[in-house]
């Protein structure tokens, strides 16, 4: 399963990159992905962020389809 993962705002600073391709076998939920990404980038643990799957904010219980676009979104600041 390939995911395209994007990091926005301060999260791109924390991970050192704006996006990456993420190879993953098996199906993940959003919660599974959250654990994997915080394992990979432990500095994320102290940060508030939401996870969007295919441009929609998703709950930890939601499954992630293969080839999805995942985005880690820090607090919004529009306006």
């Amino acid at each position: 399963m390939g995911l395209h993962v994007q990091y926005y705002g301060m999260l791109a600073e924390v991970t050192g990159q704006a996006e990456e391709n993420w190879l993953e076998d098996g199906r993940l939920t959003v919660g599974d992905f959250r654990r994997l990404v915080t394992d990979k980038y432990p500095e994320l643990l102290g940060k508030k962020f939401k996870i969007a799957v295919n441009r929609r904010i998703s709950e930890d219980s939601s499954p992630i389809d293969p080839q999805s676009e995942i985005a880690l979104l820090p607090p919004f600041a529009g306006g």
Partner: protein, 149 residues
Amino acid sequence: MEKEHKPRKVFVEGPISPDFIAKSIASHQSKTNIGAHAIFLGQIRADEKEGGVVSGIEYTAYEEMANDVFHEIREAAFARFELTCLHIYHSLGLVPTGEISLFVFVSSPHRRAAFEASEFIVEEIKNNAPIFGKELVGEGGDFRWKENR
């Protein structure tokens, strides 16, 4: 209203000028069923932070998702309120202190719908649009990530 409103361009590069706002207002004077316009403008404050005064905000966005969100906000506003027109503009990139980064322009036959829609739309944008802001602080290149409350 059941009709779908087509997505419109929201993001503009840099600050939104008073002249752009004037042109938007003028272009609505031919719509003679409008009785009330409510306009909201977000302007960058020179807040004092540790390390100095905010000199501007550098905006970025998850643009594809933000455009979806703006489209949903438009649809929700047209469904809820009796509106003639609705335009939203938001800056990307650097907006210096004192300049405008958000322009929400709501027009209706009647004032109540205009007021209520304006407030609804601004709150929706603040809460749901994936837009990120880096406040530039002081002279030394310091910054601080902004967070809406």
